[in-house]
Every structure is written in C-alpha cells, then in structure tokens.
Amino acid sequence: MTRYAGNAAALRALVRDQEVHRDVYVSEEVFQLEMEHMFPNSWVYVGHDSQVPNAGDYFGTTIGTQPVLLVRHTDGTVKVLHNRCPHKGTRITSETCGNTGKFFRCPYHAWSFKTDGSLLAIPLKKGYENTGFEQSHAATGMAPVRHIRNYRGFVFAKINDGGLDFEEFFGESLSSFDNMVDRSPVGQLKVAGGVLRYMHNCNWKMLVENQTDTCHPMVAHESSAGTVVEVWKKAPPGTRKPMAVEIIAPFMSPYEFFENMGIRIWDNGHGHTGVHHSIHSDYSAVPGYFDKMKAAYGEERAKAILDENRHNTVYFPNIMIKGPIQLLRHFKPIAANKTLVESWTFQLVDAPDMLLERTLMYNRLINAPTSIVGHDDLEMYERAQEGLHSNGNEWVNLQRLYSPDEAEQTNVAVNGTSEWPMRHQFRAWSKFMTMGM
C-alpha cells in the first residue's frame, strides 16, 4: 500500500510543530522516499580525502543506500562515481578501498573506465558497430556524481541537480569543521586508527536526534558513567585520574550542566551542543601541544581554537562530528529499522600522538559495539523502534522548550536541554523530502 509516494501534503503532515508521526521511523515507504528524495536533495558526506591520498586510490561507500566510489583521479582531483558498471550494473570494486591504478576494470566483462568514470575500452568492440552504442547511456561510462565539494578534506556530494548549493546548505555550520581542522598546527587532518562499525536495529534518525539529546545521559548512562563515578570514588586519595575516567565520567553531569552548556541552531537541520562548555572541556593538557599551536597561530588565536569545546555538531542529514576529539560518526541508513554506524577518527597532523590515543580511547569506550556507554544507547533505540508499533499513540513528542516563533530563527544559541534541534532537523527533513515533488 502506498500512502506517501508523490504526496507532498501527506509527507508534510508527518511533521507538526511539536511532534512527529511514528511513520517517519517505522514506515518502509517513507524510508524509500527518503532514499529517492531527501538524501539526493541534500549534501551528503562521502568520505575524507586522506582516505584516497594517491592517484587511483578509491573508497567505496553509500549516499543513502546508493553505492558510490570516492576516487583520486590522475589529475589529483577527487571524484565521486556511482559504483556500478554501465553495462550490467556490477559493482566495480571488489574491496571497500584500495588502489585501482590508472583505470577501473569491471570484473564481469572487462569494460574499463578512467578514474573520472569515462569509458576507456570494451572488449570485442566490433560487436557494437552500427548498433548506435555511441548514443547509449552505457557509452558515457560510470556516471559521476556531478555536484561534489571538498571542504578542507571532507568530501560531500549531492546527487540531484536541484536543491541548494553547498554554501547555502551548510552556511555558518562549517565553523565546526574549521575548528576541528584548525586544531592541527598545520591545519590538516588525516583519517587514522581504523573505523569502528556498529549495527543498530532502529531507524537512522533516532541516532541523529540522540546527538543533541542532553536529557538522556544522566538517565540512560547511569549504568555506565554512573558506575565509573562510583568505582572511581573508591580510588585511594591522590590517585591520578585515568584518561578513561576523564572521558566517561562527564556523561553523568547533572541537568544543570547540560542546560547551561547551550545548543546552537543553524539553517537546514544543522546545529551543535556545547556552546559555552561541554563534556570535553576538562581534559588534561597534552604535553607539548599548546606550544606547537602557539608557534603556528600565535597565543591568542591558539587559545581561541582550543577554548571552543563544541560537543556534538550534527550535519543534516546523517553525520555528527566532535571537534575537540576529532571524531566523525556516519549514520548509514539500511532500512527503516536498520542503521550501520561508522565511527571514524582523525589524527591532527603534526600534533602529539597522545591526542590520537585519546581519540581512539574515546571511540572504543563510547561508540563501540563492545563499549558499555554504547550499550545503553542502542538498548533505548531498539526499545523505541519496537514501542512505536503501539497504536496507543501515533505521535512522538518533541515539545521541550518549544517557542512558537522558532521556525523563523536561525543561528541562535538556546538552553542546552531544548528539543529545538530535533524539531529543526524535522523541519529540514520535511523540506528536502518534498523539494521538487
């Protein structure tokens, strides 16, 4: 049964000022429409250019559920190609990443393509003479995604021609990328340490929403962060606080801490928690790091960069970055009730190794399928995914600190426990879902 296809009014009706209909999470039809409209109309994160440093390097990923390849072309530029042979549809690369040399070769019939996707050669070419092959879609090779943008190493792509241009889509939110990159004394990041992958039996938007949900840590994470605080209390006085305790314990901060830390709202569903301070504010200094930053930027600017302690910056639709610890989580939709999380970590080029060590420790203690903090969250998402099938109430409440005039406002900082960011994400969802419909 289709209820929503081609029906912009029905889709818009799923999002109200203070609540959203459960179909945004549980309906397979709505999920398919997200893949057909919302993701192709948005600038979606593909990968980091340090994953493909040399000509011929490639990395296979998805935009929504569409397979694409990030590739370094022979001229040094980065391309995004649809990862399918124009002949029979075969996925071109056999591994997720690697180096293809000067050209891609389809493993099925040996059609080959330059690293910008254009057709290089096909075997037994004579068989295509006088067939009008030159006019076929196949003759154009692997289709490139036409709209791509490399912002300080982070590569985004937009599949549809319509929609907003890159600057319009992101606006001031790019300042969170700037801060993360500027934390390197040479202004450069490199993917490092390996990617953690985590499978969630829930809708991808639950994960995105949770990045700005500051009313859950002290409740859901009492089991993990609360236990850390309790166990740490028993340590003999004067024991040096381990890095692991520094990382996990702040999740148990009281409501007041989160209220005061603030949330910033930007256009198009983007925003971040931690305007004034955050759970990353009180990490121990890393020996030698500030001196390097001071030498590179001058004392005042170095201080300004490091005093920015943004907690989670959400880039709509499906990534979150943490500038102070150089981490990016990619929430990859698989089905209405299934999401793959990839948690990527970055090394600050020319900074002490201890920063990467802390980043990796954070990643495995908080975001891993083997972490204890992550266990708390996934349990709640999966319970919600089940609970939403109850007919007792078809609506999800997002009302906390609602203000009737908020939809018109942008680039404002509000109370840190407001659900404004989630309402804002759904306004963007509605906009990009129905754009051009």
Partner: protein
C-alpha cells in the same frame, strides 16, 4: 582436578596441564557469571585486548574493540550488577566451547607462559543468539604462588564486522 575452585600450583613452575586448566577455568567462570572470581584471575597490571584489525600489533594508535585495564574491567563487572543497567534487563548469557589450549611458549626464568586457544563463543539475550569465532591468547605469570593473567588477547575471525551489542566477556 576440579575447575570449580581454584587449584593451588604444586610447584613454582606450572605444568602444561596447570596452564591448560587455568585457561579452561577462566572460560567457565565467565559462562557461570562468577565475575568477581573471574577478575581475581587477572594481575593488577593486566590488560584485556580485543583487536579491531586483523593481525593488529598496536593497541595505542590503532583502535581496538576493547583494550581495558583492571579498573575498566571491574567497572564492567560492577555495571552488570546495576539496578538501572537497562541493556541487561533481561540479562545476557554466554557459552564458550574451547579447543584444548596449546602452550605456545614457557619461560620459567622470565615467569612468562603463553597459551593459544581456538574457541567458539555464543552470547544470547531475549530471542537473539549470536555466534562468534575467536582465538584467545593468554599471557600468564605466577604471582604469590598463583597463576595470573597479564594479557588476554581475543582475536575475532570477523574483528572488522559491524556488530550489535557484545555485552559480556569472550
């Protein structure tokens, strides 16, 4: 020899059989959720390591699924007992099937013994049951007349796969 209680070492240098019995007992204590006794098998400076990458050599600048000292392991054990540990309501159960541990190296002078154990580990909660295949490498030493784990390394055959929650200990 009973696996249920800890058997004292007969000599300062453990026999191969004593090393094997120790490794088998560790798995049994996890299966029986006797986590306090299980923690006692670890030296104070021990690490439990579950690499993220195949043949990983560096636990510091390459991410791991777990790389935990005794403090973090004891936090996990305490958490499992918590009244508000919702991901353990209801609780998970687990089951180890070990091949006979092989003694890979023994050096009495350095007080260092290494065993290698192929195993299947099953974790279950609610209606879900998940099978993991792994190799456990135990680095053991004798402290105050007792064998202790200095390092337990668990290499999953699919270490780089996307998992759901893995809640107990392999």
């Amino acid at each position: 020899m009973s696996m249920v209680t800890e058997a004292p070492l007969r000599n300062a240098v453990p026999t191969d059989q004593e090393l094997i019995d120790f490794v088998v007992r560790e798995a049994r204590l996890i299966d029986q959720q006797r986590f306090d006794e299980w923690l006692d098998m670890y030296a104070d400076d021990a690490f439990y390591w579950m690499p993220l990458e195949w043949n990983q050599t560096d636990p510091r600048l390459t991410c791991s699924l777990m790389y935990e000292d005794k403090l973090l392991l004891s936090i996990r054990v305490e958490r499992l007992k918590g009244a508000r540990t919702f991901s353990q309501k209801p609780k998970s159960r687990c089951h180890h099937v070990l091949q006979t541990p092989q003694v890979d190296s023994r050096d009495a002078t350095a007080n260092s013994y290494v065993t290698w154990t192929a195993m299947h580990y099953v974790e279950t909660r609610l209606d879900e049951q998940t099978l993991y295949a792994a190799w456990a490498t135990h680095h053991l030493s004798v402290e105050n007349g007792k064998l202790k784990i200095k390092l337990k390394r668990v290499d999953l055959i699919n270490c780089d796969a996307a998992f759901g929650n893995i809640q107990l200990f392999m």
